[in-house]
Structures are given as C-alpha cells and as structure tokens.
C-alpha cells in the first residue's frame, strides 16, 4: 500500500483585545495554508468580528495574504480561519548541495543570506564549524537538525516572539521559532538556501486531534530548486510522518507572522490570544465537511 493521503481540519482563532475602543484597524493575515509542494487546500474560510470583507493577494514568497480592514469602532477583533488541508506525502528526495558560483546568480540566494531575524554572524559560523566541521552535505544539515534539540532545551516562555538567535545561544533554551531561526542561520552559513516555515503539527498517529499547536520548522533548497523540510525541534526530517502542515514560508518569522496589524485610536494592545485545533479527517468527514467551533485554549502568538 502506498503512502496514505492525510487530510486535516484546522481551525485557528486569534483574538486581539484593545484597552479602549479603536476607530479603525488594518490587518494583514497569513493564515491560508500553502497550496503548493504537494499540499492542497480543499476548503478555506476566514471570518472576522466585527465583520469585514477580507481581500487577498499573493506575497513575494507565494503566501496568500488576506487584508482585513475594520472601519467600524471596536475594542476586540476576532479572526477565525477554518480550513481543510490534504497534506503532502512524505518526500524521499535527497537534495544536492549548490555550487556557490551558481547560487550567487540564483534567486534562491535570497534564502542563503542574512535576513532581519537570521543575521549571519561569527557565533553561528563557529557553532556550525564546531558541530559539523567543513561538511557541507545534506547529511550535515540532518546532523544540525538532530543536534539542536539535544543542545538546547525546549522551554515554553524562555523566549518571546521578538527573541533573537543570540538570546537562544545565551540562554540555552527556547521554542521552535528560536530553534528554526538557529537552524536557518547554520544552514545558510553552510551555503544552503534555508527558509522558515510556519504551520501546524497534525495529531500523532494514535490521536484524532491536537489542540494548541502552531509550529515552525525549516526547509532547505537543493541545487535542483526543490525544497526539503527539516524540523530542528523534533530533530529530523519535517515530513517523515506527513503531518507537517505548511501555512507560510519566508526568510524568517518576520515574513510569515500570521497576523500583523495597525489600529487608530488611543488604545494599547495586548498580546493576541491564539487557539488552534488540528483534527484528522476520515474520508467521510471530508465529504460531510467539518462542524463545530474551535476549542478554547489560550496560546501565545509565538510559534512553538
């Protein structure tokens, strides 16, 4: 029997509270799962309260971005995304390293350079050397992904959404966002284009659904232009179990933040309340479409 196609129902709710009434807000939302690389979006809805008519565009990285403008006074903005996604089947492809000469003239060079949250600095260059020496093969990248969760502790709350790679190196602990930034830096030092992926982990094989998990991992691009996922939190290939559901890709977290917004009015904002539910769907479920609201569990916007 060939690999089974896995289908998931996802709901992702974000609530923004303002300390006082704001008279308008402008929001960019990156919550449309990637409809590329073997993954397919079978159904999608984005709703907001107060109601607005979201308009979409595709950004530089191929992510679908929804603009949600609320022109009415409000003190709370709720964004709910619901979708049904057929996950990509696991890849068995081993990418080849680039000739650096070729990479210098390739658009994927974009992902092999410093980016705002993945600066290529001495500390990470030295770490790369200490861990894999001068090995620049794909195996070396696998070793980096394996090594990160053994060298750094996964501690929720050890870092924030704005933490840097330096914070992880200094503190020795972080979450998947930090691990992914570090992995991207190491892979780029090694001459591989590496990008940040925001998304979700599906439920484990023995479970039907998982609550409260938004996730981040990395993809590296081989010289044939194909991307392969590596998860430096789990310490291996990202698609080994077919349950890495991709939402958006970019150079680093700054390019993929699920929500980015501005508001007008003398109010202060607080960190958004986020809840995510990912449920495995049977063929019948897919046909019957999904029902029921998201389960409530508060979670940071930071990707864990």
């Amino acid at each position: 029997m060939g690999p089974q196609q896995l289908t998931f129902a996802i709901s992702h709710r974000t609530v923004l509270h303002y300390s006082a009434t704001v008279h308008a807000s402008y929001n960019e939302v990156r919550m449309y799962p990637r409809h590329r690389g073997g993954q397919r979006v079978l159904a999608f809805a984005l709703t907001s309260a107060p109601a607005a008519a979201p308009r979409s565009r595709v950004d530089f990285y191929g992510n679908v971005v929804h603009r949600v403008d609320v022109a009415a006074p409000h003190q709370l903005l709720e964004l709910t995304m619901q979708s049904v996604v057929a996950a990509a089947s696991p890849q068995r492809h081993v990418p080849e390293a680039w000739s650096q000469r070729t990479l210098q003239r390739d658009p994927n060079l974009e992902f092999a350079q410093s980016s705002p949250r993945v600066p290529l600095e001495k500390a990470t260059a030295e770490l790369l050397h200490a861990w894999v020496g001068s090995d620049r093969s794909f195996d070396a990248l696998g070793e980096l992904a394996r090594r990160i969760p053994t060298e750094f502790r996964y501690v929720t709350g050890a870092t924030t959404v704005d933490s840097s790679i330096g914070d992880l190196l200094d503190g020795g602990a972080g979450v998947c966002q930090d691990f992914t930034h570090l992995f991207c830096a190491l892979a780029r030092h090694a001459g591989w284009p590496a990008r940040y992926v925001s998304g979700y982990l599906g439920p484990k094989p023995e479970e039907d659904e998982v609550v409260g998990e938004s996730h981040a991992w990395a993809e590296v691009c081989g010289s044939d232009g194909r991307w392969v996922g590596l998860d430096p939190t789990q310490g291996g290939l990202a698609d080994a179990d077919g349950a890495h559901i991709r939402l958006a890709v970019g150079r680093d977290y700054g390019d993929v933040a699920p929500h980015r917004g501005l508001y007008f009015g003398g109010a202060s904002g607080s960190p958004p309340e986020v809840s995510v539910r990912v449920a495995r769907m049977s063929a019948q479920d897919v046909i019957a479409a999904h029902r029921g609201g998201p389960m409530e569990r508060q979670q940071q916007q930071q990707q864990q």
Binding site: R55, D69, R260
Partner: protein, 480 residues
C-alpha cells in the same frame, strides 16, 4: 592669532571652475569675472546682504534635521553664479539622461525578471541585502512602466572631467532651491542674466505636473497630492513650494485615508477627496506602515496595495531605493552597457565593493586615499576620511568594514572643484562645489538646464551637503 596649520595645505590640488591654471578666466566666466574682479568688496558685500535678505524675507529654509529643537536655517546663498558652457551642458545632459534611463531599467528589472542579476551584471547578493529592495513591490507594474520619475544625480568635476558621485532616485531634494536661486538672481541682478544669455529652468514645475498627470489612473481629472514627512523635515520648504507650483494639496500621512484600495485626502471642508497621484517625498520604506515598517507614522496604511492595484500612482514608485543604495553605485556603468548597449558618457568616482575580499584588502592597504560612507545614510552623515583618521580610528574602521562590509562604501577621495564665492566682508574666495541636476523621466528624459550647485560652508570644508552647513549658488547654463 596663532594657527597650528593651514588646513588647505593638507588638501590635494583641485580643479578650478573659473580659472585656468595660469590664472586667466575660463571662457564661460570671463564676463562675470571682468565685472566683479578688480574687486569692489563693498559692492559684493552689499550683493551678499541683499541676497541673504531676499531669502530670509521668503522664509526659504533648509534644516531642522528631524530634531524638534533644531531651527530651520535660512539656506545660505552665494550671489556669484556657477556657469556651464553650452558645450559642457550638452555633454552632461547626454550622460545624465543615459544614466537615469539605465537606473530606471535596473529598478524595473529588480522588480521583474532580474535579468541583470541572473547574468551577473550586478551581484544579486547586493540587491537581496539592500534595505531599498522591497519584496512587496516585486511583480508590480507601475503606469507607463516608469519608476524613477525624478532623479537627482550628483556630479563633480575631477581634473577636467565630470563624474557622478552619487545617484538619488528615491526622494531627491533641492530643486526648489535651484528655482528660488534663479528667482533671486532675476530680482537682484537681472542685467547679469540678460547679458549672459542664461537658459531658463522655470518650466520645471509644469514638466513635473505633466508627468504626474500622465501616470494618473484617470489623467483627465487627476487629483494630485504632495506627501511630506512634515515640518520637521529639512526640505519641508521645498515640499510646500512644489505643491503650490503643481497646484497640488500638501499632505502628511495622517491626512490620507485608504478605503477599499482607494486613496482619499481630507479636504478643507472635512470631506474626503479621491487622490489619483501622490508625489511622495517620504521614503518608500516609510510610506505604508502595514507593509513595510510598522513603527512609521509618516505614511498611510494600505497605500501600497492601492498602488499595486493601479488605483493611485506614486512618484517616485516605491522601491526605487534599490538603485540608490550606495553599494549598487559601482555597478551603474555596467548597467548602462548592459541595458542600453552604450558606453557611459559620465564615469564614476573610483569605488570599491567591500564585500569583495580583494577590493577590501586594497582599500585597507591605502586607507589614506579613501572616504568611507555608510551605504544607507544620506545628507553627508557618517562620512569618514581616511586621511583625517588617527591610527586608532583607522584600526577601528578596518575592523568595522571587515565585520560588516555590506554596510560601507569605500571611495577614492575626490577633491571637488572650486568656484569663486563671496567671502565674509566681500572678498573673493574659492570653495568646493558640486552639482545636482534634476532629471525628469517620461517618454523622453528631460533635464532642467542647470540644477542645484551646492557650495561648501567655508574654503576649508570638503563636503557640500546642505545638512553640513553648505549653501548654494545659482547654476547657469549658457544658451550659446
């Protein structure tokens, strides 16, 4: 008074705009110098006073570097013009038009097929790491395929030849000071202008207006707004003058409102008026806080999407900063050859790409001759002259450019040519000058004959930036 040393003695010799090496006047200056030399100092001092009063009366200022307590200063004006012969101008005009067109092609290419990057004409690494390269602009198609509607290209004379020192294709400023310098001369010494046969620049606002109307989504009823960062911006005076000249509204970000991808401005009666064209004097990185820098209060959220959808035209188009990143400058001659298949008419000042190891080593070996400029600053801020650095400062500079080579540009120090000016008390003295001509890009490039001649603040000063105490002169292009 004891002087430790004469600062001028340290300077390499410079070209002179006005005199031949033997001291005789160069052709375009012969009449002027015959009039003022032999020096009636009292008459020159009087001219200088009248000119100063003329500018003060009209409140023509430059300054207030963003700090609220900084007073905007009256723009220092020298009453003796800088003169270019018809022949010199024809040469400059060709070179400037060629350069502006190539820069415009480059911007279009960066946001399109990136041919020049794939073919190795310009290193892709420099573009992808440029703060002026805006990923949200990739794939956009501005009206009439023009990006750099207004370019200000800084030209210096080295030896006998003109060369380009810097390209400004984001929000080049200074044209208002050129226009007002001419107006001042026409009021104060009209007989000089008549006698010399000086080409007019007064059609600049009309030419700019034509371009703005032609890029409007509805050219037959274009509402135009000039977007300014506000009164604390050094060039605020210019923004107001241009708005009046264009018959356009002068607005700040908070006066604009984007709704359903349409841009509106607050009218005087409090209602909203649809805006078709924004002539933006706000850097494009700041124009839309939703897309670019969320801390910006200078722009208007949503304006980029309105532009992408063709509902509003922006001049210059967003993203042109990729072409005036100082690290890209060394590659402009190659761009001219690549896009236009022509040899550059105007050369560059010798410049080194510090991200290239060989070039960086060369620079650090001869640091005396080098000027270091931060790639993302303008207005003459952050410039370091190797010649003037202590040993410690050199070591520090070397460490900085080795650690962060992308942040710095290294240029051979050029000594700007000098032109005669009226000094304190009416005496004549020579000061460094450069020239910023303004190129308007439409189907055919048009260049206002002349431009802004900037003058160093004193005979010892080597930089001419207005932010560094420099002033200006009227720039004459002779009609024959």
């Amino acid at each position: 008074m004891v002087q430790a040393f004469d600062a001028r003695a340290l300077l390499p010799p410079a070209a002179d705009e006005c005199l031949h090496p033997d001291g005789s006047p160069r052709e375009p200056y012969s009449t002027l110098l015959a009039n003022v030399a032999g020096g009636d100092a009292a008459r020159l001092a009087e001219l200088q006073r009248i000119a100063g009063a003329w500018f003060a009366e009209r409140g023509i200022t430059f300054g207030g570097s963003g700090e609220a307590e900084d007073q905007a200063a009256i723009f220092p004006f020298d009453p003796l013009p800088r003169i270019l012969s018809a022949g010199e101008w024809t040469h400059l005009e060709r070179g400037l038009a060629q350069r502006a067109v190539a820069l415009d092609h480059f911007v279009a290419d960066c946001y399109g097929a990136q041919r020049a990057l794939r073919n190795g004409v310009v290193p892709a690494s420099l573009v992808y790491s440029s703060t002026g390269y805006l990923r949200d602009v990739v794939g956009a198609a501005p009206p009439r395929s023009t990006w750099c509607h207004v370019c200000g290209i800084d030209v210096v004379r080295i030896g006998g030849d003109f060369a380009v020192l810097e390209d400004n294709v984001r929000v080049p400023s200074g044209v208002a000071y050129a226009l007002m310098s001419r107006a001042a001369m026409a009021d104060i010494v009209p007989e000089w202008l008549d006698a010399a046969g000086v080409r007019s620049i007064s059609e600049y606002p009309r030419r700019l207006l034509n371009i703005l109307q032609r890029i409007a989504p509805r050219p037959w009823q274009a509402d135009i707004a000039v977007l300014t960062p506000g009164p604390f911006n050094a060039a605020y005076y210019e923004h107001g003058l241009l708005a009046r000249g264009l018959g356009a509204a002068l607005v700040e970000g908070r006066d604009l409102w984007v709704h359903d991808d349409q841009v509106y401005r607050r009218g005087e009666d409090g209602g909203f008026i649809h805006v078709d064209v924004v002539y933006s004097r706000v850097n494009s990185e700041w124009i839309d806080p939703l897309v670019f820098r969320s801390e910006s209060v200078l722009g208007s959220p949503g304006i980029i999407e309105a532009w992408r959808r063709g509902n509003v035209a922006l001049a210059n188009a967003p993203g042109t900063g990729v072409a005036d990143d100082k690290a890209i400058y060394p590659y402009v001659p190659a761009m001219i050859r690549y896009y236009l298949g022509e040899d550059p008419v105007l050369g560059n000042v010798a410049t080194y790409d510090l991200t290239d190891d060989t070039q960086r080593r060369h620079v650090l070996a001869g640091i005396d001759r080098i000027v270091f400029k931060p790639v993302d600053a303008s207005g003459g801020y952050g410039i370091h002259f190797g010649r003037l650095m202590s040993r410690l400062e050199r070591d520090d500079m070397a460490a900085q450019v080795t650690a962060r080579p992308r942040d710095w540009l290294a240029q051979e120090e050029v000594v700007l040519s000098r032109a005669v000016c009226v000094g304190a008390g009416g005496g004549l003295e020579a000061r460094c000058v450069d020239l910023r001509p303004f190129v308007l890009l439409d189907e055919q490039p048009w260049i206002a004959p002349g431009g802004l001649t900037r003058v160093a603040g004193s005979p010892e000063t080597l930089v001419v930036n207005s932010s560094q105490g420099g002033g200006s002169k009227d720039t004459w292009v002779l009609s024959s």
